[in-house]
């Protein structure tokens, strides 16, 4: 606890154990000095600015909920979850602030273990998937005179292994996003040409939809080609998947008045109900669960896509009307 002048008035035993700062020492200390002494780090290990110290934020009137930090001051690394709140007297004047710290070390360690498990399991799946996919592809390429039933079985195996491959990649992306280790290559690349080739490829996968590249500007950006391919591919997959009646799917690459480039994918599909639109970019959110359009999937495509676009310095948005269709777009900076 601290008073309105920003001096520590009380720390309890648990806090002394967590922070390693003795009660006698803490009492009367300025919060900023106390913050330096406690030396909290973000969970990813980077130092925390003194101004960001929860008790100081609370003293500025902010309510801090479930902020998680790491303390390495004591003999072992401790993860602390803090709630902090300003204190007012009966007349509403600020008289100080209080912070409640909880030791969540075990939780954080379990969480890391879970991430590590997902990572290892996903990596281990890569070789068996490669074997399944490879043999199926090889047989489909070279075997002649196969009975149709055999050929279609092989095609099914190939498609199934592709789906597992997609899931494995998504899981690995998620775990990389979690630990902040996705690194983009930055090379000049023709975005319009990429959109065009992906549009052509998507058109080959469906005979119910007209997948077309609308009149587009020719734009070169600096970015990670494979990652942008992943994003546009994901938007095209979604557009096809959620347009069960077919119809036009339009891809467009256009320069905006603000000097960015916008890539949009527009479908005439089932659209997204208004009340679900706010959650579209949440991880694991699947808006079509328990509707006739529930096509499975983990609900991570848009989450990963938006992360990748933001990592490129861009932004992703959408517009949708239930029953009319959706347009998903992203913008990227264009180098001068």
């Amino acid at each position: 606890m601290c008073d309105a002048s920003g001096r520590v008035t009380h720390v309890n035993d648990a806090s002394v154990t967590l922070t390693g700062v003795a009660r006698e020492r803490a009492r009367g200390m300025l919060i900023s000095d106390y913050a330096r002494e406690v030396d909290l780090k973000s969970v990813d290990g980077t130092g925390l600015d003194v101004e960001g110290f929860p008790l100081l934020r609370a003293l500025r009137g902010e309510t801090v909920r479930n902020a998680t930090y790491t303390s390495v001051r004591t003999h072992k690394t401790v993860h602390i979850r803090t709630n902090a709140s300003p204190l007012h007297d009966a007349s509403g004047d600020l008289v100080g602030a209080v912070a409640v710290d909880r030791d969540v070390t075990e939780l954080v360690e379990f969480d890391k273990l879970k991430d590590q498990f997902i990572r290892v399991a996903a990596h281990e799946l890569k070789t068996p998937v490669a074997i399944m996919k490879g043999y199926a592809q090889h047989l489909l390429r070279v075997a002649t005179g196969m009975p149709p039933a055999v050929a279609s079985s092989l095609t099914a195996i190939e498609r199934g292994s592709r789906r597992i491959d997609r899931i494995v990649r998504d899981l690995l992306d998620l775990s990389q996003i979690q630990i902040g280790s996705i690194e983009l290559r930055r090379e000049r690349m023709d975005l319009t040409e990429l959109a065009e080739s992906l549009t052509r490829r998507a058109a080959l996968t469906t005979n119910r939809h007209d997948v077309m590249l609308a009149d587009s500007d020719s734009v070169v950006v600096v970015g990670d080609r494979a990652r942008l391919e992943q994003v546009i591919g994901n938007l095209l997959d979604n557009a096809i998947r959620y347009s069960p009646k077919g119809g036009e799917i339009n891809v467009r690459v256009a320069l905006t008045s603000t000097g960015e480039v916008e890539v949009s994918v527009r479908d005439r599909g089932v659209g997204i109900a208004k009340e679900k639109q706010g959650r579209m970019f949440e991880c694991f959110y699947r808006p079509h669960t328990d509707t006739p359009y529930d096509h499975g999937g983990m609900g991570v495509g848009l989450f990963i896509s938006r992360y990748l676009i933001e990592k490129h310095g861009g932004s992703m948005t959408f517009e949708s009307q239930e029953g009319e269709g959706s347009t998903f777009s992203f913008r990227l900076p264009v180098p001068q």
Binding site: A130, I131, K133, R185
Partner: protein, 129 residues
């Protein structure tokens, strides 16, 4: 055409089924394939035969891909080194390839089309000399 005239590829991969698949696909495409189960076996092979290309897995017991590349280059003057294409399940295969200064890379699981295209870039050219 005798086997000696076919472009020769040393395939170093520890998983026996993956190795068999690569051999089957590449032999069908007209290459002579010499398979090895780890870097150590690979080194023995490249000492005996000068391949046109080395297809190299990274994570392997006994001697991994990184150790193999270092040992191979120590043994052979640059002019005698065959191009190396890395096959890896790493998150960023391109980065591994850059770090090792190898000629090409393929991310696992490999698409057969990509495999044949990548191999064709190197093995055919040297074989036609």
């Amino acid at each position: 055409m005798t086997p000696q005239q076919l472009p020769c590829i040393v395939v170093i991969e520890d998983d026996p089924e993956m190795r068999a698949l690569l051999a089957m696909v590449l032999e069908h495409a007209g290459y002579l394939v010499l398979p090895a189960a780890n870097g150590r076996e690979g080194l023995d092979l490249v000492r005996a035969a000068a391949p046109d290309l080395i297809l190299l897995d990274v994570k392997m017991p006994v001697m991994n891909g990184f150790e193999f590349v270092n040992a191979y280059r120590k043994d052979h003057p640059p002019a005698d080194c065959a191009p190396i294409v890395l096959m890896t399940a790493a998150d960023d295969p391109a980065r591994s390839a850059e770090a090792l200064h190898v000629e090409g890379w393929l991310g696992k699981p490999v698409e057969l089309e990509h495999l044949l295209a990548e191999v064709g870039k190197f093995a055919r050219i040297t074989a036609e000399k």
